[in-house]
């Protein structure tokens, strides 16, 4: 039994006792209180010391709020826009205009599905070239009207397949990177779940990069790394640890700017609370970015990316 399953079981037990308490009039309050305290302790213990792999599982939790869930809770007046104007509309990439704290913003986010049917439609949150190009169109629209761009990253990666290559997915990602690097409006990117490689950074170049506490962001999936580097598909835990893909590690490394706290147990335990924290963080960051003159903003963003990387300097013999 996983730790989370233990917690679920405890929760269910408490609920059962509560019902008994109410319907049958038997006083179980002492037992309930004891169990609840036990649960709280367990939870704190468990989540204060999550392993990387446990975070990967949380980031991928099927009940975790997805882009459209957050859009519903964080923004008002969301007006979805469709299509890349070139050949298609990709449901794995959701784009539109919305209002946040009275301000019109462009929202761009990767969208997973929950049911089999939905996942077929949303392609498990793996965007196709049409999705990246739709995102780019909306970025340019935002730039034209000085709407800040909010991106929500949640993807296992760009969809790998014949049609994606036939539509030059490499170019779609590359041009997005170049476009975002110089876009003349503020950009705030947040990894809300899985930040999967090229598929994530294709909407992830920003003035501020935020991560939800249990989100992950990585150049390769632990499964991919295990298979390629360890040549052993079972080494996912080792790979997850080695890749430094958690929010705290990435914050330490200076690659992300802030961590948005999640409810104890993960965003899915209390989506409203997670959304409130995300909203707070987005507003705070926009309030800092919007007053900056555009030229300055773009230079600062450029310099951030120009300076990224770690290497050793060799000294002249």
């Amino acid at each position: 039994m996983s730790d989370e399953q233990t917690l679920d079981l405890l929760e269910a037990k408490i609920k059962e006792l509560r019902e008994l308490n109410e319907t049958d009039g038997i006083d179980l309050s002492a037992a309930i209180a004891e169990l609840e305290e036990k649960l709280a302790v367990l939870r704190r213990e468990m989540y204060s010391n999550l392993s990387e792999w446990e975070r990967v599982k949380l980031a991928r939790h099927p009940e975790r709020p997805y882009t459209l869930d957050y859009i519903g809770m964080v923004f008002t007046d969301f007006y979805e826009l469709h299509g890349d104007r070139l050949s298609g509309d990709d449901p794995a990439m959701v784009t539109g205009l919305a209002r946040l704290d009275g301000r019109t913003v462009a929202v761009i986010g990767e969208q997973k599905g929950r049911s089999v049917e939905e996942n077929k439609q949303r392609n498990f949150g793996m965007p196709r070239p049409q999705g990246y190009r739709k995102a780019r169109r909306i970025m340019r629209l935002a730039e034209r009207f000085s709407f800040p761009v909010i991106t929500l990253i949640d993807t296992p990666g760009a969809y790998p397949g014949l049609a994606a290559e036939e539509n030059n997915v490499g170019e779609a990602i590359a041009v997005n990177l170049a476009t975002m690097a110089r876009l003349r409006t503020p950009i705030v990117a947040t990894v809300i779940g899985e930040g999967g490689s090229g598929g994530a950074i294709a909407i992830g170049v920003a003035d501020r990069i935020l991560m939800l506490e249990n989100a992950i962001y990585s150049v390769i999936s632990p499964e991919g790394a295990a298979a390629i580097l360890w040549k052993d598909k079972d080494k996912v835990k080792e790979a997850a640890a080695a890749l430094s893909l958690t929010a705290p590690r990435l914050h330490e490394l200076g690659v992300i700017d802030a961590i948005i706290p999640e409810p104890l147990g993960g965003a899915h335990r209390n989506p409203a609370q997670a959304a409130a924290a995300l909203k707070d963080a987005l507003i705070r960051n926009l309030n800092e970015l919007v007053p900056i003159p555009t030229d300055e903003l773009v230079v600062a963003r450029y310099n951030r990316y120009r300076g990224i990387g770690r290497y050793r300097t060799l000294t002249e013999r």
């Binding site: 790998p160 030059n168 490499g170 790394a225 080695a242 890749l243 990224i308 000294t315």
Partner: protein, 280 residues
Amino acid sequence: MPIFKDKKYFRVDLEKKLDESLWIRCKSCGQLVFKRRVRENNNICPHCGAYFFLTAKERLESLIDPGTFIDISEPIMDDDPLTFTDTKPYPKRIEEAQEKTGLASAIILGSATVTEIPIVIGVMEFQFIGGSMGSVMGEQICRGMEEAIQRRVPFVLVSSSGGARVQEGIFSLMQMAKVAAVRTRLGDEGIPFISIMTYPTTGGVQASIASLGDVIIAEKGATIGFAGRRVIKDTIAEELPEDFQTDAFALAHGVIDRVVPRESLKEELGKLLSLFAEVA
């Protein structure tokens, strides 16, 4: 880095030949051929026309005017920001790659001329951890572009890479954004950028700098694409056509401008550069 203990700052010099063996066997036709003859023939088998693998140095030699290369790379080498270990520690891999290739990193960067036109050129070394792009490659590419702007000469990049340097984690992913950002400055400054895709140009390199050329030339036989056959098969188990991610596939789908046989690559590059010559 034991082997480079007393060579902290190493630069590429095309004049020194590392490998002095005389004969080589062609994997395609099985013939034993005289190595110097192969070299003089652009590393193409004189018997069957198959392409031998080119190291970065050999690629450089095959493209530029002899004796014009000057290493302008930053004196840097790969660090290990994540203290990464898989089946072996990352620093060990770097050391082995340096030993094998004689290079400080997976890219050579320098100034040179092609048919007497001055350029800045970067060439990736596939034998250096699959030509993967880590912080050093990202920095050298940016340095190359900045140097091209400074000198007002075209920038030429020869890609040969499987993608990101996974051992550098998020830093390798961020290099995609870094090189793409700096590439935009070439456009502002009117400096041409010729991207040459060779075997293989895939993953994070294809999905960033290599796809952002003003002109993109593929060497005949190049593999070009984002997600490789194996990833696609593992992820969605899709049936793939035989020509998948070949040069012909890339040309048919508008990914590249031209497919050029190795023996014409220098000539074509010169012709193209001369059309840009009055600009830069």
